[in-house]
């Protein structure tokens, strides 16, 4: 019970710290939102001659945009930890290592959730998307975002410690998240009324991915934080 409290305390401190830094600097926000909206707009331009294709591909385009934008948020999240010897301070801080991981995940989750709301509005306007099942869409979004953030927090730290890490992050992360992209797209398609049936199965699969990435990340974060 004490260990759980330590983990929760560390997660709360790290998440609050990360969100405070982002609120203060707005670096990720200034990069992420314009980038994501621009990608949505470019997809709309590219597929506009056939609005049927655009409507068919709405969910896939939405989640692809979220994935690409998540890479920016993850890189920013770890750039903060690697400057001025802060990672050493964090390692010496006495904070629970799984708690540090969960705090990073939570802060990324909040940023991506805000992004998804804005992107959702963009999709509704640009792609003329009609919403069918709210509950399913929310559950799919929560589970997919958790999976993206958990894998991102683990791989973000790994990539940040490698030479050429910022270039490597998308190459390492995006293949790992391909199953999340597929499941989130299929689940969202059902929620948007593009497909019938099976939506909750895709949501459950996303839940499994999220739990697996959270578990693996929490277990591996200590070795990842240590110097090799």
């Amino acid at each position: 019970m004490d260990e759980l409290r330590r983990v929760a305390r560390a997660a709360q401190l790290v998440a609050a710290k990360d969100l405070r830094i982002e609120r203060r600097t707005k670096v990720a926000t200034a990069q992420m939102l314009p980038f994501a909206l621009l990608v949505l707009l470019l997809f709309a331009f590219a597929l506009d001659p056939d609005r049927g294709v655009l409507a068919e591909a709405t969910a896939g385009l939405f989640w692809t945009t979220v994935l690409f934008t998540a890479v920016l948020a993850i890189q920013r999240s770890f750039a903060v930890e690697l400057s001025n010897g802060v990672l050493d301070s964090l390692r010496l801080s006495g904070l629970s290592v799984p708690g540090i991981f969960l705090g990073k995940v939570a802060a990324l989750f909040v940023q991506l959730a805000v992004l998804e709301v804005v992107l959702g509005l963009g999709v509704a306007v640009l792609y003329d998307a009609q919403l069918g099942g709210w509950a399913l869409l929310v559950v799919v979004a929560l589970a997919a975002t958790t999976g993206i953030c958990a894998a991102g927090a683990a791989y973000g730290l790994l990539a940040a410690r490698l030479r050429q890490g910022s270039a490597l992050l998308p190459l390492l992360l995006l293949p790992l998240l391909a199953p999340v992209l597929i499941a989130a797209t299929r689940g969202s398609d059902v929620a948007l009324g593009r497909e019938t049936g099976g939506g909750w199965s895709w949501a459950a699969l996303l839940g499994v991915f999220a739990v697996a990435y959270l578990g693996l990340g929490a277990a591996l974060y200590g070795p990842l934080m240590d110097e090799t």
């Binding site: 401190l13 710290k17 830094i21 001025n84 010897g85 301070s89 006495g94 200590g222």
Partner: protein, 225 residues
């Protein structure tokens, strides 16, 4: 050279290293390094640039892993118990170790909260380091290097470490700051903490240490005391 008298060694050493090898990449930063530091001792590491002083400090902090040799800090094995070591030591290195985007107080509250200390203790540590109250809301990135150094010390002090590891502790500080650091080192030893620090300012550093160890090419050389 005017070293202080060392405390009597009646307890197991705080730092015990024998034939320790630490690699930086494939380069042996420490090659067969030996060091023993008793509880309450203030020990100066001196030596040329690149000799391995910083690696000694990082190894003692549990931040760098020895690949061979016997190494323990506070009775904990540096091969297998580095995370436990990290919870009990404090380090002020070359870099500030602070979040430049956050204010002085936000940094202090974060690091105090991390070790279970209160906001009051964090503010007391800042006061002890002579950091003016008006600087509390200033982002660390806007501070001078000397002011950052003081805040880094305060962030270490609030953790009440049993072993202080300091890399060039006087660097970047004005005369008052240097005197303050000297006072802190003496107080730490008086309170039972152990201090291991690296410095190139030998006249000043030897005045506040019990003995010195010369590090040359990753090996410990002759000791003065």
């Amino acid at each position: 050279m005017t070293h202080h008298d060392p405390p009597e060694a009646t307890q197991p050493p705080t730092v015990a290293m024998r034939d320790v090898v630490v690699l930086l990449g494939r380069f042996p930063a420490l090659a067969g390094f030996d060091l023993e530091v008793a509880r309450g001792e203030v020990v100066l590491l001196s030596g040329p640039n690149g000799a391995g002083k910083t690696t000694v400090l990082r190894t003692c902090a549990g931040l760098a892993a020895p690949v061979s040799g016997e190494a323990s800090v506070l009775g904990l094995d540096l091969h297998t118990q580095r995370s436990a070591v990290r919870r009990r030591v404090g380090m002020v290195g070359h870099a500030s170790g602070l979040y430049e985007e956050l204010s002085v107080l936000e940094n202090m509250d974060f690091f105090a909260g991390a070790c279970g200390a209160s906001g009051t203790e964090a503010r007391a540590a800042l006061e002890r380091l002579g950091v003016a109250t008006r600087l509390g809301d200033v982002p660390v990135g806007a501070l001078s290097s000397g002011q950052k150094r003081r805040v880094s010390f305060a962030a270490m002090l609030v953790r009440r470490p049993e072993l202080w590891l300091l890399d060039e502790p006087h660097s970047g500080l004005d005369q008052a700051g240097r005197d303050l650091v000297d006072g802190l080192l003496s107080e730490a030893a008086g309170a039972g903490a152990t201090v291991l620090f690296a410095s190139h300012e030998l006249d000043r550093a030897e005045g506040v240490s019990h003995r010195s160890v010369v590090v040359t090419a990753g090996m410990a050389g002759e000791s003065g005391g």
